[in-house]
Amino acid sequence: MNSVNPLKPTPTKALLEQQFLEIRCKILDLAAQLDRLQRGGDLEAIEGDPKWTRIQKGITILATDQPAKAQSVQELFSLHYDPDWKKPSPRF
């Protein structure tokens, strides 16, 4: 990661033109999935379910201006890591 990265991101304006329909499609898909959950008629049944809580938090991340949103979503859907876990010893 020390060398210069030859890949330059596509400028924002051009990217928006290129990806507008894809982004629209993905937002629509997500909206339809949330509608489906609602049409199930029992949103109260999933209140407090960790899966639903993480989905709601994930949607919040998307609406912020913070960078590295994909990484934040990944971390949201990840189990906790304990650096003091009991490691096996190498056998020399």
């Binding site: 990661m1 060398s3 990265n5 650096p83 010893s89 190498p90």
Partner: protein, 274 residues
């Protein structure tokens, strides 16, 4: 057409037509790590037959289409929960290590991040160090990935015999790629339709971390996967206007540089047409 190498694909679970289509898209070589068969095998002899398939049968199937076939041997992380069986399998691996095309030990790793998986992972490292082999590492799926990747890197760093440049940490994503690269390891991104990385996200990651010590693969297997995923990444890089030299580095030069470290690497039939 850009020539490419798919450094991780399970051809035992793909059809001969896939070899044909991959060759038509520019695939020159592949490497096939030992993995889970979709069911837990009952004995070490089942693995012996599987290893024979990897080192004897698949290279012939690939050669029909001008594709060079390489392999990696181990007991996978899922079956590693059975420590006794794992030790029996690890004991037979040296029988196959001098077969042509065997690049090293892999894909070892963690699945559900259990103590037994960690023990078997470390015993694979012990074998690899004793026999001076390269290592290919599977990192866990979905919610287990971050924790498992960090545990794997803890174990690698805890073993002073490990040379990071001879280890590939595979299936990295946005939240794990930097742990692998910062540790001096190679890393691989797997291009899957729903889990792991899509081609678009993989190119995003390349734009963020650069092109050093990083590869892409299809990890095509018997599940939902695309044996032509690497050409999809090539198309995505082109769509974004990235230079052909950058594409070639990711899909051809980088896997070649990593593979060339293996004692049994041979490349006389490789032809770089790009």
């Amino acid at each position: 057409m850009t020539s490419y190498i798919d450094p991780h694909i399970h051809m035992i679970s793909r059809t001969t037509d896939d070899y044909h289509r991959m060759a038509r898209c520019g695939c020159l070589a592949i490497s096939e790590p030992a993995f889970w068969a979709g069911f837990d095998r009952g004995s070490a002899d089942g693995f012996r037959d599987y290893f024979r398939h990897l080192v004897e049968v698949e290279p012939k199937r690939a050669a029909q289409f001008g594709i060079q076939h390489y392999s990696w041997l181990c007991i996978n992380a899922k079956e590693a929960e059975n420590v006794s069986l794992s030790r029996d399998v690890i004991a037979i691996i040296p029988e196959f290590l001098d077969k042509p095309g065997v690049l090293g030990i892999g894909e070892i790793g963690l699945n559900k991040n259990t103590a037994n998986e960690a023990i078997v992972f470390q015993e694979h490292l012990d074998l690899a160090m004793k026999t001076d082999e390269m290592i290919l590492i599977h990192t866990p799926h979905l919610e287990d990935k971050l924790k498992g990747t960090r545990m794997i890197i803890d174990m690698l760093k805890n073993d002073p015999r490990i040379k990071p440049h001879r280890v590939c940490v595979d299936h990295v994503e946005e939240h794990t790629v930097r742990f692998a690269l910062d540790g001096g390891f190679w890393c691989g991104m797997t291009l899957y339709p729903t889990s792991k990385c899509t081609p678009s996200r993989a190119v995003d990651i390349l734009e963020m971390v650069g092109l050093e010590r990083i590869m892409v693969n299809s990890a095509g297997d018997w599940g939902k996967s695309d044996p032509l995923a690497v050409p999809e990444l090539i198309l995505e890089m082109r769509r974004r206007g990235h230079p052909e030299s950058a594409i070639k580095k990711v899909v051809y030069e980088n896997p070649l540089a990593f593979f060339r470290q293996s004692r049994r690497w041979s490349e006389p039939s490789l032809r770089n047409e790009s």
